[in-house]
Symmetry: C2
DNA sequence: CAGTTTCGATACTTCTACGTATCGCTATCT
DNA sequence: AGATAGCGATACGTAGAAGTATCGAAACTG
């Protein structure tokens, strides 16, 4: 068997691309984004931070947006879904984790800027949604479905919609209700949950 | 009475600032933002569009962000609150108007970019929130309070929270659930409302 | 009318990032 | 060993916008 060159490893001649550089580029991109925001994302800045030549980046990507899409693509994060046996409590824990992480960081402005780029480059937002948001919503859905099975939650609810409503209410509050420098009230996620709960609980 | 120079009209000598230029600058800024997004907002671009010299802008503002804050400050928009006599129907109309306007325009990316600037300049987001978002939420609150008075809605609900939840659920869905190029399902605001309604209706 | 300030226009310097080219070196294939 | 392609580094030209300076004209005050 000699003819496996095209199927598995095309193996062009010459020095292979550095896997180390691959990783350094994506890592530097994410770090810069988290620390300094979207506007700090320049090819030159990424190259410097990654300890990599600009050429090395241009050989792989042709724009910052392409790098971001690739970085998000490797991020499929795993959310550990709480399972206390109590559906309400599971949702509360998830909501609080969500709010806590969000309140801390540069996360929200960055999310805003990602949404902002959708005007010229939808791919970035699409990748963000697919790899960063979907897993979070999937964990909410998992809890909701479990609640339905247990009989805690009515079977006729729209799981997808509830999974929008919980994080949506929390995020919207932070973005467009609270002053920029304010934190969440500690019990806010719980209050959101309380209101929604009345609309979805069984009986 | 001779000494009113400081209280009313300081009236410096020389040619007065052109009110026409004032308006043209703010108008051009808002139009550029709506048509081309935040990144198109440059002093030079605004000056050209407003038919005004750069000097004229720098005499009034020292950054694009300052112009934006001023522009938002003049925008206190009046939302006409529907009053059909039916609380649920009032909310549905408002939600649909909201979603309709949002689906059309550059509105969301722009909102995203405004949120994004909060990282370096909270004043812009604060002005946006104060003058653009608050009036919308005020109209939701007005409907909710009327509903409570009518006895359609339970008296112990958290009006502020519900006023976050309705637009929050709708916006979040558009931003982080739908693919970039997708429109709202026509009945989405209504479905959001249905779910929340179960948690707030009287009896 | 004299004095003052703003007007729009234009020119100018500075800065930042882009994208390309070139360097000597290195890693891998045949 | 020789060919090939990637490596980091550096230098370069280009482009867009920032911010400043200067101009003659215009709009007010006293």
């Amino acid at each position: 068997m000699t003819g496996n060159r095209e199927t598995q490893a095309p193996r062009r001649p010459g020095r292979p691309r550095s896997v180390r550089a691959d990783k350094a580029i994506l890592k530097a991109t994410v770090e810069l984004l988290a620390e300094a925001g979207y506007q700090a994302l320049t090819i030159e800045g990424i190259a410097e931070r990654a300890g990599v030549g600009k050429t090395t980046i241009y050989r792989r990507f042709s724009s910052v947006e392409e790098i971001l899409v690739a970085a998000f693509g490797e991020m499929d994060l795993v959310i550990d879904v709480p399972d206390t046996g109590n559906t309400w409590e599971d949702l509360r824990l998830l909501g609080q984790a969500f709010a806590g992480r969000a309140a801390t960081a540069v996360m929200f402005p960055v999310m805003g800027q990602i949404v902002g780029t959708a005007l010229t480059n939808p791919a970035v937002l699409d990748a963000f949604r697919e790899h960063l948001m979907k897993p979070r919503q999937a964990s909410i859905k998992a809890i909701l479905r479990r609640g339905v099975e247990r009989g805690d939650i009515r079977a006729d609810i729209d799981v997808d919609l509830i999974a929008d409503l919980i994080p949506g209410g929390i995020i919207f509050h932070k973005l467009f209700q609270l002053p920029s420098d304010a934190m969440f009230a500690e019990d806010y996620p719980e209050r959101v949950l309380d209101t929604i709960w009345k609309g979805i609980k069984a009986e």
